[in-house]
Subunit: 343 residues, 2 copies
Amino acid sequence: MKKITIEEVAKIAGVSKGTISAVINAKNTVKPETRDHILEVMKDLNFRPKGVARNLKNGAKDKSIGIIIKDLNYPFYTSVATGAREYAKSKGYSVIVASSENDHEYEKKLSHLFSTKDIKGIIIAPIVEGASEIEHLFKLKMINYPFVLLEDVKGIQANVVAIDNIRAIKKAVKYLIESGHTKIVHFAGPPSSSHTQERIEGFRHAFSESTLVFNKSMIVSIGSDHEESYRKTLEYFKHKNRKEYPTAIVCFNDLQALAVMTALKELNIKIPEDISIIGNDDIFYAKIYPVPLTTISAPQHEIGRRAAEILIRNIESPKFIQIERVVLETEFIVRESSKVLNR
Amino acid sequence: MKKITIEEVAKIAGVSKGTISAVINAKNTVKPETRDHILEVMKDLNFRPKGVARNLKNGAKDKSIGIIIKDLNYPFYTSVATGAREYAKSKGYSVIVASSENDHEYEKKLSHLFSTKDIKGIIIAPIVEGASEIEHLFKLKMINYPFVLLEDVKGIQANVVAIDNIRAIKKAVKYLIESGHTKIVHFAGPPSSSHTQERIEGFRHAFSESTLVFNKSMIVSIGSDHEESYRKTLEYFKHKNRKEYPTAIVCFNDLQALAVMTALKELNIKIPEDISIIGNDDIFYAKIYPVPLTTISAPQHEIGRRAAEILIRNIESPKFIQIERVVLETEFIVRESSKVLNR
DNA sequence: AATAAAAATTAAAACGTTTCAATAAATGGC
DNA sequence: GCCATTTATTGAAACGTTTTAATTTTTATT
């Protein structure tokens, strides 16, 4: 299938390339009849002007940045993207988003795609599995392509905007301990997620700074997929009798927490009377749940905004500028899914 | 600020453009010392090879399509995008998404952006306000750029994948009537949305085919923003005494339904005992609500999939192909937020 | 030290448009 | 019908890379 170019169209229409170009760009210098004829030929040939070539001459004037998130359907990420979008818009940039769906290969593909298509820079929520290769990030660095990570990636110096997961969980657990909870459990996330490990660590640390003592049975592997979390929660409780129940569950994230609450409802366990539930992320849909979720709130919009800020500063600077690393504070928000025991 | 090109780098590094190119493309034909030196110069100059020019020569080999949705934070749209992504991936295409956030101007900007950046085609959920201009769509047609709309747009012949909103609501209302409901009300969406009018129409039509009679007070303008819907619902009930309450509310969409349920909880109105609630869309978070929402389920993944299918078929066809219009069926799903009265 | 082979570099053509100055064609005024 | 405008069209240069074949430099072999 031969590639068809403006030249081809010109030849067949019997005019010069310049005239075709004028038609494509809706210049009003073309005689209507000529125009119509050209249009017809274009249609016949199914001619699609190559955007690439069009932009080469003048350089596209539209400014845009990309953001690669991990999951298009998890509100946390779309909120971050929205934060980025708001800031970017104020600076005249469009934002386009793509989701890696937790697939490292796909992330690489997307980063290449963006950097190659005259998108001025990218914000990346990187998939960091154990020792995942990061040559694609090095490649971006090599061509001085601006990017900002939403998570630290070992082995590379880059702009990062992140939150301190460890500290966040620690705060939550400490709160529980101070509220008189003694049987606290962590429902851990999917083993493949880098956050899972961090959160387990934060959970464990909280104990070392308290009078309670940590033991491994306090960590239960649950995942974050809703259906799976629901099932595993049911299972977890099946093997326990009432007095073995924890008094509080610190969940991996809000989505998991929602699943846990669904399961507990089925088991007739009352929240927060019987068990306190703590989420993580603070997604919109957990906030409007009938039992609004106590959670660790990550400043999603701010994450996006700050990342976009750094990114655009880099894009617009003619010379290389200092790498930045900002760690944002989370806020522990007590709502109705948790309860204080010692009063 | 002078634009800096590969030529500039070559001159300063004292080598030819070809060598610079080889470095950029990680060819292993460059002597390490030369390479390092060039890298240094590149960094000094903050040289960013223009993707546009790079792609011109060989034509980028990565295939990608775009999807422009209306709201990045409404799960309905991200589900559609996910459906598109799944199909596209199977065909070797990446998907990038952008949100117009219900801003017609922004939609235009994005469609231009995509078509200009060598994205092979777009799926567009168009903003159709009364008589909105659609020159941007005509422009796409002119350049034979493949696109698929997720909603009919008056005045243009184009590929469309949509659902029949009117029929969908009608089905729901009929179900309620057959279940013995007599006091049915529609909580309408934001006046600016094209769906609002359609759904009102569907609601009204259902009555003409029944023994009940429609009157205007059955349509209540509520919106779809959560906070606003919550507030307006409270207000609606404030002026009514118990026996004036409707027995069923047909909501504009699931998000609104969620807000309505929150308000009713506050008012101590039981669902479904006192009032049945019907949603629309079937978003994930309404399904996992403690009172799972009865709703009109749109086949979100399928919408995306079919749109991507048509799009890619058009992209890959060397010649113009017949315009398609597919209307997908919705499914009325009875869960626990509604109840049958007449038994 | 000469030669052959291998490695590194260069120079020019190519990619497919847009732009713009130059030219040609059409129109209007007389 | 002729000249002066105005309108329409053309042709060549330009955009910033990549790609190759050709050349130069380096290395290895004798």
